[in-house]
């Protein structure tokens, strides 16, 4: 689970992660704790959508306007955040809507940004994503696919960049996710409660220590946190230089076809994940091992399964496939 999250921070283009697991398996805790290690981004100063400085991912209409008027955009550093989408959110709060105060005072229509605007360049976290209302799911799908939030409602016609890392958690007992949304998640992980009593005791011990003295506990982890933060920022810097050569392409396609996964999205995601994995490791060369250790994350939710099939990937099969190259 940690790895899936880190890969996504290293390369937000991977397309998010779906975390499946029963209650009390620290799904939400892991996602919320990410705030500690998220690297800062360089954004356009004063932009309500925090457009990436340098035009990566496209500009919002306001920045476009500035550019058209010949005004210079200035950079600012903004921390990457975890933005939560509550299940009870209404559509207009998610997509954004008409700024009513403004309309009433000046008679001018203006867009009031919603959660998707906040999520631009950030992590969008949906707890219990399988219980999200259909119309909200449709909204998310649309933005996640295009990287742009198109709003056409209540007399507002507006669009702005909405590139975010979608992180969803769900308890599979509560129901499945629609196949459309499932496919959009770049990675998926199944988390299970630990059965080892020693480890469980360790979890309890740590939690008690945290409750007794949160600040002190954070302090004691600061070094470790700092190390992870550094390795993530380093990976982000390294990523553009990580090579993705013919070997990688061969490995990726042979794995995806071996496991009968359709569509180019799986191929592209596996390639990206393998690269991000190499970058996190501080290497600028992708190895077979990178494909091996990310394949399950990418493929397990895309494989066609019959009922009663075990979830997950056949490790031996994967090994055979990689060896044969």
């Amino acid at each position: 689970m940690k790895k899936a999250l880190l890969l996504n921070i290293a390369d937000p283009g991977i397309g998010g992660v779906l975390i499946k697991g029963e209650k009390g398996t620290a799904k939400s805790t892991a996602v919320r704790s990410l705030a500690q290690i998220l690297p800062p981004r360089t954004v356009v100063e004063g932009c309500p959508f925090r457009c990436g400085f340098g035009g990566e991912g496209g500009y919002c209409p306001y920045c476009m306007e500035k550019i058209a008027e010949g005004r210079a955009l200035s950079p600012a550093s903004s921390p990457m955040r975890v933005v939560e989408l509550p299940l009870s959110a209404t559509e207009d709060r998610v997509a954004g809507t008409l700024d009513l105060e403004r309309v009433l005072k000046t008679g001018e229509k203006r867009f009031e940004p919603g959660v998707l605007a906040q999520a631009n360049g950030n992590l969008l976290y949906v707890d219990e994503v399988n219980l999200l209302d259909d119309h909200l799911v449709d909204l998310l799908l649309d933005s996640a696919a295009m990287g742009v939030n198109y709003v056409e409602r209540e007399g507002v016609s507006f669009s702005h960049p909405a590139r975010f890392v979608l992180v969803g958690t769900m308890n599979p007992e509560e129901g499945d996710l629609r196949p459309q949304l499932l496919d959009r998640f770049g990675l998926s992980v199944d988390v299970a409660g630990d059965l080892d009593p020693k480890k469980r005791a360790e979890v309890v011990r740590r939690r008690l220590a945290f409750d007794a003295d949160p600040a002190g506990y954070m302090e004691s982890c600061a070094e470790e946190t700092g190390r992870i933060r550094d390795s993530v920022s380093r990976a982000r810097g390294l990523l553009p230089r990580v090579e993705a050569g013919e070997d990688l392409i061969d490995a990726v396609v042979s794995v995806t076809s071996r496991f009968g996964v359709d569509g180019h999205r799986a191929d592209i995601t596996l390639m990206r994940a393998a690269r991000a994995n190499a970058a996190l490791d501080g290497r600028s060369r992708v190895e077979k091992g990178d494909v091996r250790s990310t394949a399950e994350l990418v493929l397990s939710h895309r494989m066609k399964r019959r009922p009663f099939d075990k979830p997950g990937l056949d490790g031996a099969e994967l090994e055979k496939c990689l060896q044969s190259l």
Binding site: M64, E91, H135, E152, S159, A266
Partner: protein, 625 residues
């Protein structure tokens, strides 16, 4: 208000594979009479990419239409700014108008409200948008190309809607080589979109020039009477009702001819056009199963293929189907009329390929099962999609400000505004109507006693619950299972949308013992009435699988069967829909289950007549009604 942001698109010519989709789009760009193109294919096969890539090869602007669009946004409503400033009611520009002469892209068109989609098609057909809203009445010309994408697996578009798409292209399953190439290009594109586009600049320009040249040829393109009548016959044979198919085929084959630089339509053009125009129009029958599965459904669909010809076509020796599509030799030109059987055969072969693509990885679903629309229920808790506005009955809680302001706008000049820009009075207030999709909760109440021919019956019942569970996560239904045996009914599976969880419980279902029918009816009804986790607007159904006979009465010494009937009568029409599936033997047949169904005012089916999927379908029909 500022316009849309610029996003560098993927070049049209750089899309790997997708021959049919490219061809359909080219035709539509060449022939303006082709107004709607549908692209179907699984997730991540590049449907949206190719639709948006049109920007690279055509000067027409591309407008995105989200599936959740409101009618007001499509057609334009009142211009709020004008209304507030000048007190005039004027139509504002809607999406359709903005699209003028351009291309409208709708992703996942099957998720769109069918009524909204229908009105889009209305504009496509008439070439103008008619706006009749409050104080505004206007006709706005809107001429555009509609490109929609749909993925299989979700509820499909209705056959009626499908027919309104002139062309329909299926995304082919890419081969390994293609996958690698696509991956390479995807990598290069994301690393450097601009440089990538420049590298493909020449191909892109050639593509645009090809379309441009074809558009100039098109007005001169002709189709011989012989081929025209062949087109009509093909449409008839494939069961394409109405003449939209004929027209689309004629238009498409003319565009194809023009694209090859000819002004005369040939047999090949017709063949290619058939794949694009007829595959989605074939009859009402379900798609045949993929070739590797010996399913029984869709048997009549085989008529689509050619009759097994005895090789009596004159002059055809080397035209045996070689199984795979090899490059076919160009057909001899300038002959006598082409043989219709032969074209039929060619089309049949293409359809088989299409069906295989369409069915690969997706379960074949019956058209019948789709008939019920997903029910929408008004939602009062402020969540759900906005469906309009109205004058509130009492105090307005969820105020629709735009509508309120519009209502107030014409009066602003006469009102004392007291320094405010807008003076809103009580009577101007409008509230939002919100609705949300609501599923059903379906409880299977199954006789698990020994009196039912036990195992064989249970297999059919399990099959049905199984198939409904599989459906449920798509349809937002929750399915539960209660079994009765010995002395009581037991809730085996609380209503769930989880397939795996449900299936596990289903496997373990124990059987045998006496039949406490009356107790079961009461318990099931009681459970559903107090259904935990029930959502607003959700509809409740109980599917009772029984032979209608009981032998374990509630009251000591009573006639159990008669008692169950009395209980049934008392439970009928109390907010829950009942469906009775008669699991009794067909011979000798006893009418007990029928009587019970009558008392419950339930729909009645016989297990005999239904296989597992059939049972699920029939339950669906009742739910949809």
């Amino acid at each position: 208000m500022p316009a849309e942001p610029v996003t560098g698109g993927y070049p049209f010519s750089a899309v790997v594979g997708a021959g049919a989709a490219k061809s359909a789009i080219r035709c539509a760009l060449v022939n303006p009479a082709i107004k709607a193109v549908l692209i179907r294919g699984g997730g991540g096969t590049g449907k949206s990419t190719i639709a948006r890539a049109i920007a690279g090869v055509s000067s027409r602007r591309i407008v995105n239409c989200p599936p959740g669009v409101t009618e007001e946004q499509l057609f334009g409503g009142i211009d709020i700014e004008k209304a507030l400033r000048d007190g005039r009611a004027e139509a504002s520009e809607g999406l359709l108008e903005r699209c003028g002469g351009g291309v409208m892209v709708i992703d996942d068109a099957n998720l769109m409200d069918p009524a909204t989609l229908a009105s889009v098609f209305d504009c496509v057909a008439t070439g103008e948008a008619r706006i009749e809203r409050g104080a505004v009445s206007a006709r706005i010309p809107c001429d555009f190309l509609l490109v929609a994408t749909v993925r299989p697996g979700e509820p499909d578009l209705s056959p009626h809607m499908l027919d309104r798409f002139d062309l329909c292209a299926y995304m082919e399953e890419p081969g390994e080589g293609e996958r690698k190439e696509a991956l390479r290009r995807g990598r290069d594109f994301s690393a450097d979109p601009k440089g990538f586009a420049e590298r493909h600049g020449r191909e892109e320009a050639e593509e645009a020039a090809l379309i441009e040249r074809a558009s100039r040829i098109l007005p001169a393109a002709t189709i011989s009477d012989g081929l025209a009548s062949i087109i009509s016959e093909l449409c008839q044979r494939t069961g394409a009702a109405g003449c939209r198919g004929d027209l689309a085929m004629a238009r498409c084959s003319m565009a194809l001819a023009a694209l090859s630089g000819r002004d005369e339509v040939t047999k090949r053009d017709v063949e290619e056009a058939a794949a694009l125009c007829l595959a989605h129009r074939r009859g009402d029958a379900p798609p045949p199963p993929p070739p590797d599965r010996g399913g029984g459904d869709g048997g009549e669909e085989d008529d689509d293929g050619p009759p097994p010809s005895g090789g009596d076509e004159p002059g055809e020796s080397g035209r045996e189907p070689s199984g795979e599509e090899a490059d076919r030799p160009p057909p001899p030109e300038g002959e006598a009329l082409p043989d219709i059987e032969e074209i039929m055969f060619e089309i049949g072969r293409q359809f088989r390929v299409i069906d295989y693509i369409g069915a690969a990885g997706e379960r074949a679903r019956r058209t019948k099962a789709r008939k019920g629309r997903r029910a929408m229920a008004e939602s009062a808790d402020g969540t759900g999609r906005r469906a309009g506005h109205r004058i509130p009955a009492g105090r307005a809680r969820d105020v629709a400000f735009d509508a309120t302001i519009i209502a107030a706008a014409p009066h602003q000049r006469d009102r004392d505004r007291g320094g405010l820009a807008v003076k809103i009075e009580e009577g101007d207030l409008r509230e939002k109507i919100r609705e949300r999709r609501c599923g059903c909760t379906i409880l299977f109440l199954v006789d698990a006693s020994g009196s039912l021919g036990a195992r064989r019956r249970m297999a059919a019942v399990k099959g049905a619950v199984h198939s409904m569970l599989r459906d449920s996560y798509v349809r937002r239904d929750r399915v539960g299972l209660m079994a009765f045996r010995r002395d009581s009914a037991e809730l085996v599976l609380p209503p769930t949308r989880s397939v795996e969880y449900g299936l596990r419980k289903l496997e373990e279902l124990p059987t045998g013992g006496r039949t406490p029918l009356g107790a079961a009816l009461e318990k099931a009804h009681g459970y559903m009435s107090s259904n935990p986790g029930r959502r607003q607007g959700e509809r409740l159904f109980i599917v009772l699988v029984t032979d209608g006979r009981a032998n374990a009465p509630l009251a000591e010494g009573a006639d159990a069967t008669e008692e169950a009937r009395v209980i049934a009568e008392g439970l009928a029409s109390r907010g829950i829909g009942w469906i009775v599936v008669d699991a009794g033997l067909s011979y000798p047949h006893f009418p007990d289950a029928e009587i019970l169904a009558e008392r419950l005012r339930a729909s009645y089916f016989r297990l005999e007549d239904l296989d597992a999927d059939g049972l699920a379908d029939n339950v669906r029909m009742v739910l949809g009604a």
